[in-house]
């Protein structure tokens, strides 16, 4: 039997201390073989169509990311289009071990989640959410790979100017009709600020806010019809975009153009299915998937067999941005080599991803956590398919303005 000397005892104690001291790191590394990401999306409630579309992107992401050498484990959470639910579910997901949070399509929900992530020091990567305050409130654990409302409107208005020039449309007046949710209100703020200096050739007669949960928009359209603008500039969601067009047809109001400076609604599958040919010619200026990117092609290849009833061309906006948010998280995890929130966030902020899905330069974040390099494209519906019409170098068709009357659609 070996006698325990003071020297042996001290050496043993030191070794035990070393093992004990490094054990937590081993645990972290063991837990972090795959990065556990909570994907919070509005899969029910009034934002459900877009939330479901983002969800489809999240569901195919692990396989595509694995092909690029990233291992992620996703936890899918429905925030029910409700900011309070988003907050409580994010808290719960973090308690259950989520190391990164991605979400949440809706700015109001994302703001609620940001507070939780900030407190818990867990990185929050915004897939879609344009309210400027997300990156203006000094959150240290939040980045956004999506344009702000101001960026969307600035890019969108510039493209409207280009569209009018290319089509030689003489538009003298416009009405701005927008949803009064967080996103729509942010867009309104950006319009109020940017439109006067945007140099557009038409006058903005009035801005009209509406409740996106309203059962119909007949009064709103009556109001627009009374003003009889040449252009209707809209910020919508899917369900209210359908109501808007229906009421325009019923009231036989035919503007020369229906243009969104950057919002969902006009390209959702639900919009095409509900309206058929009436959905054609709506124009929206938005960031869009780059069909020439290899990663976009890989994503599309994974999407098609997984969702034979959905079209990637229609879903690429929601699917693309959701995938990119997960890509940012996975790439940061690879770089940091740990799932520790602070270290991971440091790596997220240093992101520099040249090959990605959406049109634009490498994904990078500024000091506020905002990717400021996301451009927009002018996309118009032709035969119920979103078609890029500007900028010319990526366009596959020319923009059509004025749009044909409702009765002249086939």
């Amino acid at each position: 039997m070996t006698r325990t000397t003071r020297r042996n005892f001290t050496a043993g104690l030191g070794a035990a201390g070393f093992v004990a001291g490094t054990a937590p790191f081993n645990i972290v590394r063991a837990q972090s073989a795959a990065l556990k990401i909570a994907v919070v999306l509005p899969r029910s409630g009034y934002l459900a169509p877009a939330g479901q579309s983002c969800h489809r992107g999240a569901l195919i992401a692990p396989k595509v990311l694995a092909d690029y050498g990233h291992k992620v484990e996703l936890v899918h959470i429905d925030c029910e289009s409700n900011a309070d639910v988003a907050r409580t579910q994010t808290e719960r997901a973090i308690n259950d071990g989520a190391q990164v949070v991605v979400g949440a399509f809706d700015s109001a929900s994302t703001l609620a989640m940001a507070q939780v992530c900030e407190q818990r020091k867990i990185p929050l990567i915004v897939n879609i959410g344009a309210a400027p305050q997300l990156t203006e409130q000094g959150y240290k654990f939040l980045v956004r790979n999506f344009p702000t409302g101001g960026m969307l409107v600035t890019n969108g208005l510039k493209l409207i100017k280009d569209e009018l020039e290319v089509t030689k449309l003489d538009a003298k007046t416009a009405v701005f009709l927008h949803a009064n949710d967080t996103f729509g209100t942010a867009q309104r703020g950006a319009m109020d600020k940017i439109f006067p200096t945007a140099g557009l050739p038409f006058k903005l007669l009035e801005s009209i806010a509406y409740d996106p949960k309203a059962q119909d928009l007949s009064v709103e359209i009556t109001k627009v019809r009374a003003l009889n603008p040449d252009l209707l500039i809209v910020v919508t969601r899917a369900a209210d975009a359908i109501k808007m067009v229906r009421d325009m047809v019923r009231q036989r109001f035919e503007p020369k153009g229906i243009i969104s400076p950057g919002s969902p609604g006009l390209y959702d599958e639900e919009f095409y299915q509900a309206l058929g040919p009436l959905s054609d010619y709506a124009l929206y200026n938005l960031p869009w998937a780059n069909p020439k990117s290899k990663m976009t092609q890989a994503l599309e290849a994974a999407f098609k067999p997984a969702y034979p009833n959905f079209r990637f061309a229609v879903e690429c906006f929601n699917v693309g941005f959701t995938f990119e948010a997960l890509l940012v998280a996975a790439a940061a995890f690879k770089k940091a080599g740990t799932a520790d929130g602070t270290e991971l966030m440091k790596a997220v902020r240093e992101t520099n991803i040249a090959e990605h899905v959406m049109i634009g330069p490498a994904i990078k974040f500024d000091d506020k956590g905002q990717n400021v390099g996301i451009p927009s494209a002018a996309v118009q519906n032709f035969h119920r398919t979103p078609t890029v019409t500007l900028p010319a170098d990526v366009a596959t068709a020319a923009p059509v303005l004025p749009i044909p009357g409702w009765q002249k659609r086939t």
Partner: protein, 289 residues
């Protein structure tokens, strides 16, 4: 201000209000007789919307026709529900009734979400994009048909309560429950018939609502709230009050949207509710307790 446009807005408000009124009528009838507030009212309306959607997609039935079988089916559901479930809670404290019906509402909404998903289901009727052009006015064809149907269903209900023996017996129960029992009326059966009638109303209203709104589980809560607002404004238990309240809400929402901001229309509905509660707590057509 163009008067024709204002008139257009008022007419749209009246037409929508008549459909709202029919929906609220069911709530008012149930409360007026059974003294149970149906907190799952909007949820039943949405179930009727989905049933109408399915009949349209599956059999091509127009909602103006399918409202009849749906109203009958809802009568049966209401009758069964009252006998098996709600009757046990009649006379019990209000919070117990509240929990029962809110629980039912949650089950219905989540059931709909599981079956149909969260996406809105449109019923694309051949005339849903048509409108009547009367001089400078454009009035939605679907809305006119639905409002006329709502008026007919309401008139049939009024006639039932006034001219039939069962209707008279139900009114007797509402007026004097003890007296009704003393003269030998089967109160439990009459309660079940009343609950059935209330749900038939909401079934018919749900069928008509698909002409102006797409079926979606997320509509349920707003329908319940809307029905409550209308019934409180019109007077709890008053059938005429429900119709008047519906039209008032429809017009006030439309006018508020037009003259102020569309996003403020709910604020005006609730302002009207508060004004009625302060100035005439029993509602416009209600009787003072």
């Amino acid at each position: 201000m163009n008067l024709a446009i204002v008139l257009n807005v008022v007419i749209q408000g009246v037409l929508t209000g008549l459909m709202y009124g029919l929906m609220a009528l069911g709530l008012s009838v149930i409360f007026g007789v059974v003294r149970v507030v149906n907190f799952a009212h909007g949820e039943f309306a949405v179930v009727a919307m989905y049933a109408t959607y399915l009949l349209f997609v599956g059999l091509g039935l127009d909602p103006l026709i399918s409202l009849l079988p749906i109203a009958l089916a809802f009568f049966a559901i209401g009758y069964f529900l009252q006998i098996t479930l709600v009757n046990r809670f009649v006379g019990r404290s209000e919070h117990e009734q509240f929990i029962l019906l809110v629980g039912l509402a949650i089950i219905i909404v989540n059931g709909l979400l599981m079956i149909f998903g969260p996406d809105a289901r449109p019923t694309n009727l051949p005339y849903s994009l048509d409108s009547f052009e009367i001089g400078p006015l454009f009035i939605d064809t679907a809305r006119v048909y639905s409002a006329v149907a709502a008026l007919l269903v309401s008139a049939a209900l009024f006639a039932f309560f006034r001219y039939t023996t069962t209707g008279t017996a139900i009114r007797a129960c509402a007026d004097n429950l003890t007296g009704a029992g003393v003269v030998g009326l089967n109160v439990k059966r009459l309660y079940a018939v009343t609950f059935g009638i209330g749900l038939a109303c909401v079934g018919a209203a749900g069928s008509l609502m698909v002409t102006i709104a797409d079926a979606s589980p997320s509509l349920a809560q707003s329908f319940t709230l809307l029905a409550f607002t209308i019934v409180i404004i019109g007077g709890l238990g008053s059938m005429t009050g429900a119709l008047v309240g519906g039209v008032l809400i429809g017009v006030s929402e439309a006018m508020a949207s037009f003259f102020f901001a569309p996003s403020m229309k709910s604020m005006f509905s609730f302002a009207l509710l508060v004004a009625v509660l302060v100035l005439r707590p029993q509602g416009l057509m209600g009787r003072r307790a």
